[in-house]
């Protein structure tokens, strides 16, 4: 008597009558030596794992996980970037054919096709041949995909000044900076419009924070006069004495914190 989709069971059990197990090929069919998984092979695997772990721990010690300042929705100057493994999608949306009017194409259709194709690869590439050279279409599509992901990631990353971005976004607990607003240097700081870009407590606004910088007095004097990066030259408009006071004030505040 057939049940369900033609299934037959042994007596009243759940065991099917026509038991046809899928048994993978025995490795003895492949020429060569096999090895016991436990403990022989696992030992080699764990040795690789141990070396990997040491390298990984060195990485975590050498490069502390970055943390920027607390989220500040009013920070209009902030350049938002996703984590690096989403940079290629981020970059894709910058292009005209994928952004703007074609947003749906760039954000949904292209990634959807790519990842959908990856997901359904076994059904798109149905041939029994496994060698990459014997299935040129599949192989070349994948190589094309990998190259474009690498290239898009590179394009996105190359346009960012990572060091300046990190320097401008130091993690400073809110309310922890209290600069000496009574000093002569602060008066110069206020009078020369430094305050508009670097904030009332040197915490940074449209310009970077001046706390946690590593410049000498002379270097700061030079930057104040000649500018650096996005900061234009000629911002400072005062006497040489005031310039000295300003630079010493900034260096002193950095030593305090």
């Amino acid at each position: 008597m057939k049940k369900g989709k033609g299934m037959q069971f042994v007596g009243d059990s759940r065991i099917t009558a026509d038991k046809k197990k899928f048994i993978p090929k025995d490795y003895s069919e492949y020429p060569g030596k096999t090895e016991a998984f436990w403990p022989n092979f696992l030992l080699k695997e764990w040795l690789v794992g141990a070396v990997f772990l040491v390298g990984f721990l060195c990485l975590t010690i050498a490069h502390p996980a970055p943390l920027e300042g607390p989220a500040d929705p009013t920070d209009a100057a902030y350049l938002p970037l996703p984590d690096w493994y989403f940079l290629f999608l981020y970059q894709l949306l910058k292009y005209q054919f994928a952004g703007g009017d074609f947003f749906v194409l760039g954000a949904i259709v292209i990634p959807g096709l790519a990842f959908g194709g990856l997901f359904l690869a076994p059904f798109l590439d149905k041939g029994s041949n496994r060698r990459p050279v014997k299935r040129p279409i599949t192989t070349s599509l994948m190589i094309l995909g990998v190259i474009s992901v690498f290239w898009l990631t590179y394009e996105a990353a190359a346009h960012v000044d990572w060091e300046a971005k990190a320097a401008a976004n130091k993690p400073i607990p809110p309310g922890s900076i209290q600069v000496d607003t009574e000093s002569d240097g602060y008066a110069v700081y206020e009078a020369n419009s430094c305050i508009q870009c670097h904030g009332g407590n040197l915490e940074g606004a449209s310009g970077p924070s001046l706390i946690g910088i590593d410049y000498s007095v002379d270097e700061i004097k030079d930057i104040a006069v000649n500018g650096i990066g996005d900061m234009p030259a000629g911002q400072f408009d005062g006497t040489e004495e005031e310039l000295q006071q300003l630079a010493e004030f900034i260096v002193a505040e950095n030593e305090d914190h």
Binding site: W46, A50, L57
Partner: protein, 169 residues
């Protein structure tokens, strides 16, 4: 025969090495995490800062409740916490500052909190009682005397620190 024994010992050797490598990986992974987790246990005890709570000449032989606030830094959270104590002057002029926290289950005791026992501290939760010196009344739920605050007197002002349990029962 000898070959067979050799094989067994090789397998054992591999097993020991495997355990060693596995242990190394587990230790390398877990050591920083465990140290991270138990950090609060290893922190040195706070010195117990003293806060001015009352003028000595205002303290009478009748226990009075005094309240004060301290700035409490709880990791990333800073807050003001209100503390209180029952203080009175003994006959020899020394001051006793008792913690109001009942030693039974941590409710708050009050002096003369029950009309039937006007000369005792009374805990409303389970009718625990203490004598004026903080000793628990035998036969009531608490099994220890009230904690005493560390105290210091400077320029006629009473400063209290941490509440410490009395050693004797």
């Amino acid at each position: 025969m000898s070959e067979k024994r050799n094989q067994v010992s090789r397998r054992q050797f591999l097993n020991y090495t495997l355990t060693g490598v596995g242990g190394f990986m587990a230790a390398g992974m877990l050591a920083p995490m465990v140290r991270f987790a138990i950090d609060p246990v290893l922190q040195p005890q706070g010195k117990g800062e003293f806060t001015a709570v009352a003028q000595v000449d205002e303290i009478t032989s009748e226990p009075q409740r005094v309240d004060w606030t301290i700035d409490q830094v709880d990791a990333w959270y800073e807050s003001e916490v209100t503390k209180s104590a029952w203080v009175y002057k003994q006959e020899d002029g020394s001051i006793v500052a008792l913690s109001p926290v009942c030693k039974h289950l941590g409710c708050v005791v009050a002096w003369a909190g029950n009309d039937d026992y006007p000369d005792q501290f009374f805990c409303p939760c389970h009718d625990g009682r203490y004598y004026k010196d903080g000793e628990n009344v035998p036969g009531t739920p608490p099994n220890a005397a009230l904690d005493r605050f560390q105290q210091r007197i400077e320029d006629g002002t009473l400063y209290l620190g941490k509440a410490i349990p009395r050693e004797e029962a």
